[in-house]
Amino acid sequence: MKRWKLLLLSCSWAFVVQAQNTFPVNGVADNRSGYYALTNATIVTQPGTTLTGATLVIKDGRVVAVGNGVTVPKEAVVIDCKGKYIYPSFVDAYSDYGVQQPQRQQGQFNFFAAAQLTSNTKGAFGWNQAIKADANAGSIFTVDEAKARQLRESGFGVVSTHIKDGIVRGTGAVVTLASERDNKVIVKEKATAHYSFSKGTSTQSYPSSLMGSIALLRQTYYDAAWYKSAPKTEGVNMSLQAFNGIQGLPQIFDIIERGADHTTKWNALRADRIGDEFGVQYILKASGYEYQRIQDMKATNAAFILHLNFPQAMDVEDPNDARFVSLADMKHWEMAPSQPAAFEKAGIPFCISATELRDTKQFLAQLRKAIEYGLSEQKALEAITTAPAAMLQVSNEVGSIAVGKWANFLVTNGPLFAEKTTILQNWVQGNKYAVKEDVWNNYDGLYNLTVNGNAVQKPTNSKLKTAPPIYLGKTPLVLSGLAMAK
């Protein structure tokens, strides 16, 4: 009896905790649990696992049950998903969502200008302005509804965001794309550590070259190790302190320095060699040209973050314009979409990000293009769900549809990678966001259309006594070549 009471007590306690937070309400509290059951759906819970006629139950933003033969709770709002597909929402491992990016004023070495030999950063930080190990995206993150909508409409539910500035860029945060209070959408406040070869907004003269960036980063590793012994001669160095603090996180290296070109792929090897020297395995954010040296990429043993910014065809009608375009650039135009397939074929682990895209909305179209160029559908789905979640070490929270994880999923009207498939809804943390609900019901069919009692038909059929049904589909309906039956 006593034990039974205790159990009851702990249950009610758990319930109270879930509803609690520190934020006062002006007005009447409205704590809805978001209890939904999506029934009769084809649910792809994770790449390779498809349940047909299945039910997904969510509550308080999390998955409560998923599978065939799941009892629909009577308190839940039921949504019939007959003919619909449900997929985990995508995870983007490389984003700057909701984090204000410093304006770049690239300070390249200028022979004639005065040098800035010391850092302009005020405070007890290190000597070089490009080492921003103390930067913390989580502390300046704020929900950006306009951008969140764009990303949600492209299928994303979770992104890893950071400040893209400097050679050491501090920590990134994993956040959802729900339009909730900032506190609620952060999945992991300090999730990743970021690096690059570009000094970004640093106005300090050093480093002014790629090899200078490499040397500075190497020296920083040595200095940080030395700083652990609290050398009296140094005093407090918050940059090195922060650098040591971020070493346990997934280490992500953006290999694009200024812009990407054919030579940027070598930065993958350059970054990896720095990692080798200090026992760090970077995750490499690729430039798009890595397929040109795929075996060298494999030899890094790194996992890669790929983008889908495939170049568009150039207008080469004018032969004099065409003459100035190198064969390499033309070949790249042709081969760039085969990059993800090349990684799959080589057996290199990778995920795919919306980064570098001119227009986020093109994400799914570009991914389908990569599939057309040889990427398998299974790998494609992995690369936008389970793979990035694992890379960010948040697999227990997102990346697949499973009990206890965040209810982040897409409802589509067909298999995700089929050309005609549309994302109807994107649910993030149990909140439904309509993407294109007006095509939820499909009224395509053959109809007998009459106007003021007169049948409408195709002119070619006008001699027939009874007009055959005509095709009506897609809204708004715009038809031509019809005629009123006489």
Partner: protein, 527 residues
């Protein structure tokens, strides 16, 4: 809600507009006919349409070209392989005491020069190249080059010995191929001259198509670039605030750097002394900048020093002597003829231009006889390019020394082969045609010092990286491939796909911010 709009007949310009709702399967509502009169309508569902299996239709996989190494027109789907090659009956310029041997055979095997002599029997499977009327030499070695890198100058500080050219080699650089076509097989890639103590250099072999690591000359001694004079004191910069500002200051930068390096070495020794159990070692901070300077003092790293003016040449040698080491090479060294005896006493080698000068104030005293005079005094003299274009014709630069200084053809040729090999400490591997050395050779159509001479084959480690006949075939293939891709792009445009304006493919060329380099319309010259 639904909306239906249609024309009354095929060519009708007026439309009937209907608006209504869906009720179960059927539609109904009202509208306006072509005359503007109100109408009502309904549509009764009959059946589903047989879906046009658009999404199910598998499009054929797109046809794309091949990845080539490197990724440009002169790349190949497979890298060339090492071969056994017998070059028969050529005039062989050995760059050794044997001199120039007429009608001689040279066998290349396992990447080495295996045999030199008359009537050598070709081993089974050997490729035989007829060298009759042709000249075989060792590959050219360029002591001063800035090709095949992604950056060249770290000008952020006066002392940057921590940076390494070897960290950012770029094996895709087309200049590798162009210079192979001019008979170059080994290049010393130097840091620029933006600061007194520049970065660590890297010796590479021109292996076209390999990756950045494979480009490196294995086992070669490490070098470092120093620079003096106008560039490092930033003479053209009116707002310079970086020490040094004068030639005296340059000397003090060197003094200061090596003094710090001495203290650093002492601290390192203290930290690494054997100690009693439990006795803590002093905390030691590894400093990459000073590491390199300690290597210099311990003769494990060697200096190639950009230099022009006699005063700074002598003062730099004095600093080195004070710290107990030698300057290995003075490069540029256009006033070298004035202090050749002092340089001889110091034991430094020199690498200079044949006749490139008057590009700034500190080179007005340059003369065409510089190389010859220095050679006569007994210095090891090399002729270098410091320029991606000039490096294609270093054979002609060597020829100029015959013209101006009356140096023999044989000695002039050594100035681009064994002499630079010796100053780079790789004379046991490359720089001459000698049994056991690397099979880095060039077969010329003519006397290599002639302006008519063209490289027919340039071979590195017994691998043919340049073949003039193949090159001509490749040009045809490039035209065809370009045309295929242009037509494909035009097809995209015709099909209504978005296009971007044609963008010129600019080549970035690095140089050491020293001379007025101009490499043409499609080249961005970078410091």
């Amino acid at each position: 809600m639904i909306k239906i709009v249609f024309g009354e007949s095929k060519r009708a310009r007026t439309t009937i507009r209907l608006s209504g709702t869906i009720n179960g399967n059927n539609m109904q509502g009202s509208g306006v006919d072509t005359a503007g009169n109100p109408v009502t309508f309904n549509a009764i569902y009959v059946s589903a349409v047989t879906a046009k299996a658009d999404s199910a239709r598998k499009r054929p996989a797109p046809q794309v070209g091949n990845v080539v190494y490197p990724f440009n027109g002169y790349g190949a789907t497979e890298l060339p392989k090492q071969e056994t090659i017998l070059i028969k009956n050529a005039t062989v310029w050995t760059s050794e005491k044997e001199g120039i041997l007429p009608n001689t055979d040279v066998l290349l095997q396992n990447g080495k020069i295996a045999q030199i002599g008359k009537n050598i029997t070709a081993p089974a499977g050997a490729r035989i190249i007829d060298g009759t009327g042709k000249h075989l030499t060792a590959g050219i070695i360029d002591e001063h080059s800035h090709i095949a890198t992604s950056s060249i100058n770290e000008g952020g500080q006066s002392v940057t010995s921590e940076v390494r050219i070897g960290d950012n080699l770029n094996p895709d650089d087309i200049n590798i191929y162009r210079q192979l076509s001019g008979g170059v097989t080994t290049s010393h890639i130097l840091h620029g001259s933006a600061n007194t103590i520049g970065g660590q250099t890297h010796l590479i072999k021109l292996r076209w198509g390999v990756n950045d690591e494979q480009l490196k000359f294995a086992g070669a001694d490490g070098f470092i670039k120093f620079a003096l004079g106008e560039n490092v004191k930033r003479s053209p910069a009116q707002t310079n605030n970086r020490f040094p500002d004068t030639r005296m200051g340059v000397e003090q930068v060197l003094m200061d750097a090596f003094t710090r390096a001495k203290e650093y070495e002492a601290a390192w020794k203290l930290a690494n002394m054997p100690r009693k159990k439990g006795e803590p070692a002093p905390v030691f901070r590894r400093d990459l900048e000073l590491d390199a300077l300690v290597e210099i003092m311990n003769r494990k790293r060697f200096i190639t020093c950009h230099s022009y003016v006699q005063s700074e040449i002598t003062s730099t040698m004095r600093v080195a002597e004070k710290f107990g080491f030698n300057i290995n090479t003075f490069t540029h060294i256009l006033e070298g003829y004035k202090v050749a005896d002092k340089m001889k006493a110091h034991g430094v080698a020199v690498s200079t231009f044949s006749d490139w000068w008057t590009y700034k104030m500190e080179v007005v005293d340059a003369i065409a006889y510089n190389a010859a005079i220095m050679q006569r005094v007994g210095l090891n003299v090399a002729i270098n390019s410091d320029d991606a274009e000039m490096a294609r014709r270093l054979n002609q630069e060597a020829a100029k020394i015959v013209k101006y200084g009356g140096v023999s053809e044989e000695e002039a040729w050594k100035m681009v082969t064994i002499n630079p090999a010796t100053m780079l400490h790789v004379q046991n591997q490359v720089g001459s045609i000698k049994v056991g050395k690397d099979a880095d050779v060039v077969l010329w159509s003519d006397n290599p010092l002639s302006i008519y001479a063209k490289s027919l084959f340039t071979i590195v480690d017994g691998i043919v990286y340049y073949d003039r006949v193949k090159d001509e075939q490749q040009r045809v293939a490039i035209q065809a491939e370009r045309n295929r891709l242009i037509q494909k792009m035009l097809g995209d445009k015709r099909a209504g796909m978005p296009t971007v304006p044609a963008t010129a493919s600019m080549e970035i060329m690095h140089h050491c911010s020293d001379h007025a380099h101009k490499h043409g319309l499609l080249v961005i010259d970078m410091e």
